[in-house]
Subunit: 520 residues, 2 copies
């Protein structure tokens, strides 16, 4: 189906067995997996087709960076490609599954040390197996007043999410930019520490954005150039107060003034949160399934949408954001924001406030959760979802056009439109979720057709996705075509130089090592 | 003297001539320089010894990225190493001069197109030859209300400064982090655009921090891996108001509470500026020379320091910062800051305010200037300066200890202490300036001895410099010794893979290509 699915690691069974045995001798039998049941547990739970097309041949689960080194060296010796996962909960993008069948999963779930948390300087140092719940539990248990930036699916890894350019909604929402100081096992098994950590015992490893010389950290995000075995992550000091502002808007085209008005406030840093705007579908999909409302083919008609909005009391679009500052500063900002909106709409904000000392439940702290995963059941059957997420200039007219194009395409392919937008300081991520029944082969075909059409539509307008599902990594990589795919050629050049045996995560983000590239 | 000074490019005169002729045929005779006078103009004007130890063999000045490509390809063919400068005003770090004698300067001064400025989304796209004055003049001439982040020496390049991890004092002070989207000529002559710019005509090239796949921009800062031929740079929208706060402190040890109190405000983003704290020497050196005060040997005695402070009405340490927000927000923050300081000192802030509509001269906008370069004349004769700039945790006790160690060392080597500190959100750069008479060979010997002692002292405490002079690039690189200099070995591995002929800026930040590495 997807081009990437057709590739398979060229590892002979005997070679694989020898590799797994050698690893077992180093890290213990119980941390090497190759039974059918074990292997199946690494499949994509929301696969867009037969999950066996992305089935690994086995998995190994080291406990320490030294064990990761050993495994990477053995992988080089036996020419066995690995696929690194932190906790494997990258749902909607492939979960734990590799792009290429037959690789061995390098599963870092056991590396879950919380090495350091500094409340005053507001950062933590953690291993990739540390999940959002783990870190949150640690902060609570130790009374540390630092706030995290969590996700709708918080089962995953804090570091893994940041490495994939995952986003939250607080002022620390751009998770990759809050990574500071990494330890890496390189494709040749060497250990490198980035930034100030390249000096022994340098206490600014996780404090200074820059070291001496070239900066390397972002190279290891959405990447197959190294294995991150620990990283520093900046956390937000508990604010003195928060103020939440909510407004609904009635018409699809209202997104124009919503984006332009919020956008100016974001660029000026009056609002420092990664502001979200979502359509009514969020409320419907959290609380119900499609067949509760409608069982006809194609996208739901407008009268059904009207009933949904009535029931949940939501707008076509729904704005919600928070201010995280001194209470009187939040109030001053709220007044300024209200004035800006009065110029473009008669709608008014609902406001709620919290200050230190008030009940914590009302603070608006971003807490780990899994509730929003409920949405995947929308289409019926065993549910699944995949998101299409191009990045646009922070501009209302362009955001409307992208939304409208996507809605038309989704209708054309028979899907209900679910949209949410993330407003950054100068750009906006326009996310559309496609929900499907993963046992409905015909529907999955439509998902593929729709997704490829969306990639092409976006590229025609000059927009690219910030992240994508393993089935589409090659397609999206190819859409970045400037100068005969110069960036892809650059990535491949580095891949070949640093990882000549093509050991680490072949095909990730469309970057293939030479030995598998020729098959393309 | 410095180890790095002893290396020389192994280019035979005939080979050099052939290269320069080939370049001249492509870009025009008038943009190829090899006369003694021309070459001397690229020497370090603040050289810490004989400037001829860093003398280039010639210079070439392309106008376009295509010409840069041509030059890089010819340099590969003729095996002539280049040293890239944007405008060559990297004073205190080597100016336009290369680490290694005998290279050819790749001078990008002529590439000074201001390609785009977007007031609403608050960014510009410029070439490396664009200076701070150029960009400022453009903004003013076009009535664009975006503020820059300028330096005491604003002769330099906006991009060049950001690439060297240069810093200003506004909320946009970490210039490298405001770079967004680059065009690069790679060592093999290929052109790559980073981030979203890897897609043809993608309008988010300079708006989105992330593209698809690994992030590359920071790799090209303090780097010899590519030539930046244009970049996007985020600028600050003119704030609604500013509020300036100034406080003096009497005793050297006051730096403890200054750093801790300001530090908390920085980590919590109540103060968003890269806050500076400076000692009295700034005022003395801006307005006078040492011999106006004292002509004895060694560091100035305390009674002279007292006279200086009296005359300029300054403290031992002097705090000044600005708030850049809505006027009522600035007031609320100022009250909060005053309360925090009341807990640790009886000193009070002097406050001044500006709001949109008030005379622009009082706004506190960061304007280009050269005034602070006057300080280099402090030591007498033809002046020069070099800064020692380790990064520490944002902690008063540690900052005091580093300051005190440095002051003792400077006294030991006979220099007056000049200190300034830049407070970031979690780290602090403790900068000490050494002023010298560049015609006093004995004094220059002392500068070298002092500087090497400072590098060693800092490394012993686990601290590294964020940037250094060409004479010390190898020393500082060697101080990053984790895992048998893993980071340096990584840098060298990439250098050899990407630039096998060692064409681009050999020795920059201690990164030597294989052909010159063996000499070390």
């Amino acid at each position: 189906m997807a081009a990437s699915s057709s590739r398979r690691a060229d590892v002979a069974p005997r070679q694989l067995t020898r590799f797994l045995k050698a690893v077992a001798a180093e890290i213990g039998d119980e941390w090497v997996f190759d039974s059918a049941t074990d292997v199946a547990s690494y499949q994509d739970v929301f696969a867009l087709g037969d999950p066996r097309l992305h089935s690994p041949a086995g998995a190994v689960a080291p406990l320490t960076a030294a064990q990761v080194q050993t495994i990477v060296r053995l992988a080089n010796r036996f020419k066995v490609p690995l696929w690194t996962i932190s906790r494997g909960k990258n749902f909607g993008y492939g979960g734990a599954a590799p792009v290429m069948r037959g690789v061995v999963i390098l599963d870092l779930t056991r590396m879950k040390r919380i090495i350091d948390v500094d409340e005053k300087l507001a950062y933590c140092v953690i291993e990739p197996g540390v999940g959002f719940y783990d870190l949150h539990a640690y902060l609570r248990a130790n009374g540390i007043r630092l706030w995290m930036s969590c996700l709708g699916n918080s089962l995953g890894s804090v570091i893994g999410n940041a490495l994939e350019h995952g986003t939250g909604i607080t002022p620390y929402a751009d998770h990759a930019m809050n990574l500071c100081g990494m330890e890496l096992v390189m494709p040749d098994g060497d250990i490198v520490r980035t930034g100030m950590g390249a000096m022994d015992d340098n206490p600014t490893w996780h404090l200074s954005r820059h070291g001496y010389g070239p900066g390397w950290e972002q190279m290891f995000t959405q990447s197959n150039f190294g294995v991150v075995t620990r990283a520093g992550m900046w956390l937000m000091p508990e604010p003195e107060g928060t103020l939440s502002m909510t407004m609904n808007a009635d018409k699809p085209e209202d997104i124009r003034w919503i984006v332009d008005t919020l956008g100016e406030l974001r660029t000026k840093r009056i609002i420092t949160q990664a502001t979200t705007v979502r359509n009514y579908m969020r409320w419907a999909a959290l609380d119900s399934v499609r067949s509760d409302w409608y069982d006809g083919p194609g996208a739901m008609p407008d009268e059904v949408i009207e009933r949904i909005r009535q029931k949940y009391g939501v707008g076509w679009w729904n704005i919600n954001f928070r201010l995280y500052e001194l209470p009187e500063v939040n109030d001053a900002h709220a007044r300024f924001i209200e004035e800006k909106f009065k110029a473009v709409t008669d709608n008014r904000f609902e406001i709620s406030r919290w200050r230190q000392g008030d009940p914590p439940a009302l603070s608006g702290e971003s807490l780990p959760g899994v509730g929003s995963m409920q949405m995947v059941n929308w289409a019926g059957g065993r549910g699944g979802h995949v998101g299409f997420s191009p990045v646009l200039p922070l501009n209302g007219e362009l955001a409307f056009a992208q939304f409208d194009r996507t809605r038309v395409r989704m209708k054309e392919f028979g899907f209900d439109y679910y949209g949410s937008m993330y407003l950054w300081e100068r750009a906006i991520t326009v996310i559309s979720q496609i929900f499907f029944d993963r046992d409905d082969a015909q529907m999955l075909e439509r998902v593929h057709g729709l997704f490829r059409a969306l990639i092409a539509d976006a590229a025609q307008n000059g927009y690219g996705e910030y992240r994508t599902h393993i089935d589409f990594m090659d397609d999206v990589a190819r859409s970045f075509a400037f100068n005969n795919h110069a960036l892809l050629r650059w990535n491949e050049k580095l891949k070949d130089a640093l990882d000549p045996n093509g050991i680490l995560s072949p095909g990730k983000q469309g970057i293939w090592p030479a030995r598998y590239r020729e098959e393309a």
